[in-house]
Symmetry: C2
Subunit: 142 residues, 2 copies
């Protein structure tokens, strides 16, 4: 798949006793996880996310059911259906993320490189674009 | 609840757009997570676990469905039904853990303080009891 979405394949160990899917720092994950959260019970018409982070990396894995996720780096967007538990979506800092179309049984696991810090959130899209531009002007962008 | 099981209540932030349940290092978690795995598709008559770790801490959270977990510290055992996603079960090192009676829709999330190391596993119960005794004799037990 071409596009800006950074997808991670998670190894699955399946046998007669079920399936085990793993993500480890230094292998599939570029960071140790300081915070984990999981989202469920989202209605079919609800949208979550709609923010970016200054510094926090996040990896999204839909461990049950399915959900649609869009990533936006300020220049391009890409939409991915997270419909299997072996598919991780890495959202680096300064990614505007939006999730919607949760199946009724969806559980979206989010692995975070940082603890909760309200100052790390950007909730305004215009501010997000300004921060991206400023970061690029400062030569900090890849 | 009395007993040896170390249970952790995870905060839930619920609103009209669904539920978000969180676990953060330094708050609910005594460690940063180096490895995460999740188990699903386990049959109703299957049992998993049946081992201990020398050094790795684990926290079990059933994020969908339910599962029964037993912890054994070499002296006492306790059985807990993990039937809500806000309930974490901390298994410190030298806990013999066994899980069974997975509901068909169960997803068991396991947060680990260490990366995978086969030398950290104890698969033999008699060896487990010997290691517990040796650790206690050396005064390292709490």
């Amino acid at each position: 798949m071409t596009g800006i979405a950074q997808l991670i394949e998670l190894p699955e160990f399946a046998d007669a006793r079920g399936s085990l899917i793993v993500a480890e720092h230094g292998l599939q994950l570029p960071f140790a996880i300081e915070r984990v959260f999981f989202v469920s019970g989202v209605g079919p018409n609800d949208t979550r996310g709609m923010h970016a982070h200054h510094a926090c990396h996040q990896i999204l894995v839909c461990v049950h059911g399915s959900v649609t996720a869009r990533v936006d780096n300020g220049h391009e967007t890409q939409t991915v259906r997270l419909d299997r538990p072996t598919l991780g979506l890495h959202m680096p800092p300064l990614t505007w993320g939006t999730q919607w179309d949760y199946s009724a049984d969806a559980v979206l696991l989010v692995l975070n490189s940082m603890g909760y810090d309200p100052k790390d959130y950007i909730h305004d899209y215009d501010e997000f674009l300004e921060v991206v531009s400023a970061r690029e002007a400062a030569g900090e962008s890849s």
